[in-house]
């Protein structure tokens, strides 16, 4: 456990080496929130709309604020397994005295933690400017939201690790991961609350595990999910995490036998 903690901290410090560059990268992510903020204030205020699928302007803006936080826990930019397999760097990791399967999980956690910490000052600036639209329901829901964030990040990591490990079997997955990652964000509710969709599409999207990455945690915070359904959701998230991790484990294990350290 100690060595993984050390690895976590080393990665964390490595990310922090070029602070200005990293902070600039995170800061520029605000653009997405700003664009959505203007679109929806326009739709609600100037369009004379008071309510969309039980979402008011305040809850909609809060939803986007929460997803901007959840995006920091999106492992799409924090996992390098595909690249390591493809260019042979994985060989360096295999030679070291730790589980190579877990190392990519630990490194992505450290990058995501760094992203979240770097984003907090920007989140505070957003809060100052749009505070009148930010809804606070209760500390209970806030606590449950934090739990859901942790589970969502684990779900994201295991899902992306599985996608990356496919490189062992089918070659470079970079383009595929980009495409699937984009669709995951859409199906997960990163672009808008899933309840804004027509009922048929909303039902279809609800069957997918991706809603647990954005839509579900945000709706927990907003108090739009009954307590019983929250715990059922947590259980489902846990099951999906286990399923994706097992699939990743077997994909990695079988893939390692095919690994030829190309590029080294």
């Amino acid at each position: 456990m100690k060595k993984y903690l050390k690895y976590f901290l080393t990665n964390f410090h490595e990310e922090a080496t070029y602070k200005a560059d990293f902070i600039f990268y995170i800061g520029s992510e605000i653009v997405f929130f700003v664009v959505f903020y203007f679109i929806w204030t326009n739709v609600y205020s100037k369009g004379g709309v008071s309510d969309i699928s039980s979402f008011s302007l305040s809850t909609t803006i809060t939803y986007y604020f929460l997803t901007s936080l959840l995006f920091r826990l999106n492992p799409a930019q924090a996992i390098y397994l595909n690249r390591s397999i493809w260019n042979g760097e994985l060989t360096n990791e295999i030679a070291k005295p730790y589980s190579v399967k877990l190392i990519y999980l630990v490194s992505s956690l450290s990058i995501m933690a760094m992203e979240m910490i770097a984003y907090l000052p920007f989140a505070a600036i957003i809060l100052i400017f749009v505070s009148k639209y930010i809804v606070f329901v209760s500390f209970g829901y806030l606590f449950l939201f934090i739990i859901s964030m942790v589970l969502a990040s684990l779900l994201g990591i295991t899902l992306y690790l599985l996608l990356h490990s496919l490189c062992f079997h089918f070659g470079d997955q970079d383009a595929n991961i980009g495409l699937i990652g984009y669709l995951i964000a859409f199906f997960g509710g990163a672009l808008f609350p899933l309840r804004f969709l027509p009922s048929g599409l909303y039902r279809a999207f609800s069957y997918l595990p991706f809603k647990y990455l954005y839509d579900f945690p945000a709706n927990i915070y907003l108090g739009k999910i009954a307590p019983r359904d929250i715990w059922v959701g947590f259980a489902e998230m846990f099951v999906w995490i286990v399923v994706f991790f097992c699939l990743y484990y077997f994909s990695f294990q079988s893939g390692l036998k095919k690994y030829a350290a190309v590029g080294r």
């Binding site: 070029y18 990268y25 383009a175 495409l179």
Partner: protein, 262 residues
């Protein structure tokens, strides 16, 4: 002429390279199709609740989206990867030396050094979507509007290119600027929507200080509405001014380049 010859050779090589990785090209095209589907869904969600966004109809907004994506795709096809490489590697590892010794303008050479023909296919997709959106608006568009639109599109692209160059120039002074080449693609989100949705400080910023919105909105406005001389002159003037500033800055910072580790 020399530069055009080099661009032609680079593009030909890039086409040969990309034709060897059909899978990558296919997925890249699928990604653009996915982006179109997702954004049309998003616009449908918006327009299910309102009839116009800041005075622009569904198909006008769709046109603005397709038009801005055409500009970004053309940038990806010709200049983006080269400029990105400058920000991430060229200065840091001293590869810029190889561009300096060539008998053509370095800014142009770096910009066009890594063409991506796949993005040209995306540009064709988006341009087709833009044409479809214009037809669906049902608005009569005269020949004068089309000519002004095409004329201003060139200047819109120049502004977009200048902003891209402007954001990577600090690479000459800083060690690592991976985040800087990402700024313009992220800011391009603003290009997709009518200016009327933004508040005055943002309008000033996106039209004057960092005129990324002017690059897409003014040509689009000229297409749908009677051309306004003031806006046409503004776009042309700002494109020329930005180009001159960017050239001067590039040359100024280039003098400080010290050829590290090559």
């Amino acid at each position: 002429m020399k530069l055009l010859k080099i661009i032609k050779i680079l593009m030909r090589n890039a086409i040969i390279r990309d034709s060897k990785v059909v899978g990558f090209v296919t997925v890249s095209i699928l990604q653009e199709i996915a982006s179109i589907v997702v954004n049309i869904t998003f616009f449908n969600v918006i327009f299910a609740n309102i009839s116009s966004l800041a005075g622009w109809s569904f198909y006008q907004v769709l046109f603005l989206y397709a038009f801005s994506k055409t500009i970004t795709s053309l940038s990806f096809a010709f200049t983006r990867a080269g400029l990105k490489d400058l920000g991430e590697h060229m200065i840091k590892f001293g590869d810029y030396d190889f561009h300096l010794i060539k008998p053509v303008d370095t800014m142009a050479l770096v910009s066009f050094s890594r063409p991506r023909p796949t993005s040209l296919i995306a540009a064709v997709f988006y341009a087709s979507l833009a044409v479809y959106s214009v037809i669906k608006t049902g608005i009569y568009i005269g020949g004068v509007n089309i000519i002004w639109f095409l004329f201003l599109t060139i200047f819109g692209f120049i502004i977009f290119y200048c902003l891209e160059v402007l954001t990577v120039i600090p690479a000459f002074k800083l060690i690592r600027v991976w985040s800087l080449p990402e700024i313009v693609p992220k800011m391009a989100e603003f290009m997709r929507y009518p200016i009327g949705i933004f508040t005055l400080p943002f309008k000033i910023f996106l039209f004057g200080v960092f005129p990324i919105l002017a690059a897409s909105y003014i040509p689009a406005q000229v297409l749908f509405y009677p051309p306004q001389t003031s806006k046409i002159l503004y776009l042309v003037a700002i494109a020329i001014i930005f180009f001159i500033i960017v050239r001067k800055l590039w040359k100024f910072f280039e003098k400080g380049y010290s050829s590290a580790s090559s």
